[in-house]
Amino acid sequence: MLLAIVESIGRQVILWMENSGRIVILLGNTLFHLREKPRINHVLHQMAHLGVDSLPIVLLTILFTGMVITLQTATEFIKYGAQSSVGGVVAIAMARELAPVLTGVVVAGRVGAAITAEIGSMKVTEQIDALRVMAINPIKYLVVPRLLACVIMVPILVIFADVIGTIGGYLVATLYAGISSFTYINSITIFTVVNDIMGGLIKAMFFGGIIAIIGCYKGLTTGEGAEGVGRATTASVVSSIILIFISNYFLSLVLYR
């Protein structure tokens, strides 16, 4: 019984390590192909498809996150007479953690799933094989444009998220908590430094890379049939979100020491 459990755990660990190794190899191959001139029109198409189309859902999510954070902090801060810190706390939380992480999660759910489903269905319908037979490297043709698009677009989405989250906080602080506009904005200018925003943008680049590479890897390794595509899509979203949360901790550790 005990042996069976150990065996099962061992199998899972080996499988996990195999997959991790393959993801690293895919990342290495993709970075190798970055030395060649990318297909600009493909990158732009992916930027529009993966980035611009995600903007409404990112804005909506972050707007309400900014509002609820302010709702919770303002009430407590006012009790201790620290209402002059609310704007700064919301802006720092937004720039350093909430905007990049939540944007990453939203994009992983929307874009990561779309990348895996698209590449996965190409795999099961032999379109990837057709590319290879036509002497086209699928990594160069499919993975490189998606990686570039995600690494460029997720930070841009985070800039919008930073702004809209802080505006959400402003609305609640002024209209609900009774904090003046000047106090809220002044607090932001006092507490927030450029590094807070830059750190969030660096995180966003990493998250974009994670979403693209995991999405492409799961698509390229999709099992047979529609069920395989469905399973790969779910695995892609789950893996990306887990990796975003784990890497976020270590990135915070390095970026905000």
């Binding site: 319908t125 032999e126 379109q127 094989d129 057709a130 290879r132 037979v133 036509m134 002497a135 086209i136 490297n137």
Partner: protein
Amino acid sequence: MIKLENISMSFHGKHILQGIDLEVKKGETLVVIGPSGSGKSTLLRLMVGLLRPTQGEVWIKGQEISRLSEDHLNTIRIGMGMVFQYSALFDSMTVGDNVAFGLREHTAMTEAEIHKIVTRNLRMVGLAGQQDVMPNELSGGMKKRVSLARAIAIRPEIMLYDEPTAGLDPIMSGTIDRLIMNAKRVLGVTSVVVTHHMSSAFKIADRVAMIHGGRIIEVGTVEQIKQSENAVVQQFILGLKSPSAYIRRRSEMK
């Protein structure tokens, strides 16, 4: 042109192909027949480097390809075309873009020149004026014909066909057979066709090879295959229940 030497292929410990030796001469059409799951499509995939053999060597135009890198392989693949069992058209592109794909990627042709070739190829496969249609609007037979038009667009020296008539009605199967013969006549291509449609096989083949249980059990001209004494070959081409049914029938005729 194509030479397989002592090829074996296994997936997860299961032997798909064992000790395959096969040669296809320049300009020849070799048809590979055999029951489903006998390794026919695997053989085709080995020839174009989509799979690497567990053992043995694959020679294309005098170059051993089974150990080449993907980038190196691509230089060989430019001279090859393949029609897939389910067509494998790029579903995000129009029919015209599918046919033009290889030309845009591998040649310095102008859009006007590419348009001319696309129009000519689509006319050749009986799909003139369908450039702007999306693949999901086409029937199975039409997709196969677009796939053929795409494959021959860059004028390959070698054409591989994976079950080109599978799932098609007899009239459409006949059309595809004629297109395969036309491609050979007009372009002089060397062709390998995997099929289990005997009427197609006998119509288009210069030689026929039969795979059974991962091994080639018979190779010969159409007449030689038809006259084969091998009971498994006769069972397959006559559609009998078992090899012993052929042996019984033969002894009754005697």
